[in-house]
């Protein structure tokens, strides 16, 4: 792999609400040979809430994070579509608008924050792109110890794929996440409206709860009706929506455990469900955890 060290940007939902995702990411990426460097980042900031109010302010706060990575000369690794969308889009804005870039650098300088002139040049990566290389997939295939073969619904989320004009990914029939899930020994099942939104983004989660929950309810039913035993996400904000949202929906929604991709991969690598923190979710993945424990016990019996 060409780049093995990354400025790790866990995002405030994984550190402050779902530390199980932070923990699982650290464990899995260490197994795969990636080194994560911890830096004093703050909120990405939220692309839905803050960007709606004032783009220059949003770009300035994003640039502060980019400056922190620039000081270390490291590419920045996100595990969240919100953080990715915000930081990647901010680098685009700074690059296409030199006037904005100068203004942002001046603001950072004025506050005594070094590294601003390097902000626009920081490479922002999403964990899916890190795992979607031949080397990472080969390493992953070698490390998988259990094939649990459970049917799961994959959720790409919006801001990893769209806008395609920016990222150039296949937004009609993406396979990146499906392939990783299958490499880890799970079955990615087809279901309607697979690429649709979870309902959390754009400041709607906090600002317009009824709309947010209606969108989620529809999505959960489509996944469960197709036979999913869990939903696999690549975004702690989508994860928060799936996990907490089911509690908010109460009896209106079927129960469907949510796992961040790194938690699913952790199970496939033989890591214990308690270590991956599956029990810390509001809707714990009990069946998957049990299947993983049984697979490990069977393995131990063979050894």
């Amino acid at each position: 792999m060409t780049e093995e060290r990354f400025a790790f940007f866990p995002g405030c939902i994984s550190t402050n609400l779902y530390p199980a995702i932070e923990r699982s990411t650290r464990l899995v990426l260490a197994e795969l040979g990636f080194e994560l460097v911890d830096l004093p980042f703050g909120c990405c900031p939220p692309p839905g809430v803050l960007r709606s109010y004032d783009e220059p302010t949003w770009a300035t706060l994003a640039a502060r994070n980019l400056a922190i990575a620039a000081r270390e000369g490291l590419p920045l690794l996100t595990i969240c579509n919100g953080c990715f969308g915000s930081l990647e889009e901010a680098t685009a804005r700074l690059n296409e608008n030199p006037g904005l870039d100068r203004r942002v650098v001046r603001s950072l300088d004025g506050a005594g924050i070094p590294g601003g002139e390097g902000a626009a040049g920081v490479e922002v990566l999403h964990i899916l792109d890190l795992l979607d290389t031949r080397e990472a997939k080969e390493a992953l295939a070698d490390l998988v110890v259990h094939r649990l073969d459970a049917p799961v619904a994959v959720h790409y989320g919006c801001h990893y794929l769209r806008p395609s004009s920016r990222y150039g990914r296949d937004v009609e029939d993406p396979r990146i996440l499906d392939e990783l899930v299958e490499l880890a020994g799970f079955r990615s099942i087809p279901f309607p409206e697979k690429l649709s939104c979870c309902g959390a983004g754009g400041g709607v989660w906090s600002g317009e709860e009824a709309t947010s929950l209606d969108i989620l309810e529809r999505k959960l039913h489509l996944m469960v009706d197709a036979g999913a035993e869990a939903v696999v996400n690549v975004c702690p904000f989508c994860h928060l929506q799936f996990d907490q949202g089911q509690k908010r929906l109460g009896m209106r929604a079927p129960r469907l455990p949510s796992l961040h991709l790194t938690q699913l991969i952790g199970l496939a690598l033989g890591m214990k469900d308690k270590v991956l923190g599956l029990h810390t979710h509001l809707v714990p993945a009990r069946d998957l955890a049990k299947a993983a424990r049984e697979a490990r016990a069977a393995q131990d019996a063979r050894d």
């Binding site: 609400l17 923990r23 703050g42 004032d54 502060r64 005594g112 924050i113 983004g201």
Partner: protein, 181 residues
Amino acid sequence: MTGGADDGLEEAVGAILARADVEACIQCGRCTASCPAALPSSLRARNVIRAVQDGDVTPVIDRDDIWHCTTCFSCQERCPKGVLITQAILWLRAEAARRGRYPAAHPTAMAELARSGNVFPLEPEVRTVRGQLSLPREPADTNHAPDELAAFHRLLENIGFESLVPPRRPYDGEDDGGDPE
């Protein structure tokens, strides 16, 4: 009514029209058909874009509709004319917010961002969970790096973060049950 003829709205709408290529819209409605918020709310992307074309966005920014957009970009992705629909909605929101129209819950998130550097704060019980998961009880973030936090606060002060938006005013129809909530 929002503001007067001299409050810069006309100029802002002209800029949105040009930057988002709104003139290219043929009113086919694929945006509204693609919109996950169109079922549970009264957001109609086509009508929003039409208002920008007509230069009459006051009824749009005085209502809550545009704040139901999850910014999923499905409309923009599917627009046959390449109109930057999601982006136009974000720019319209900024104009609405400058006139005091925004969701009542957002100031709490903004205040938390200004205080701790994160919109989602670290709750005491999560410290315990972090410890149980063999993570440091406090993450290595801005909030736990005193020098970085001080610099962050200086930055917010310098750019006038506190006065980013005026006090909130109810949406049109909010008090008489017009809000879909």
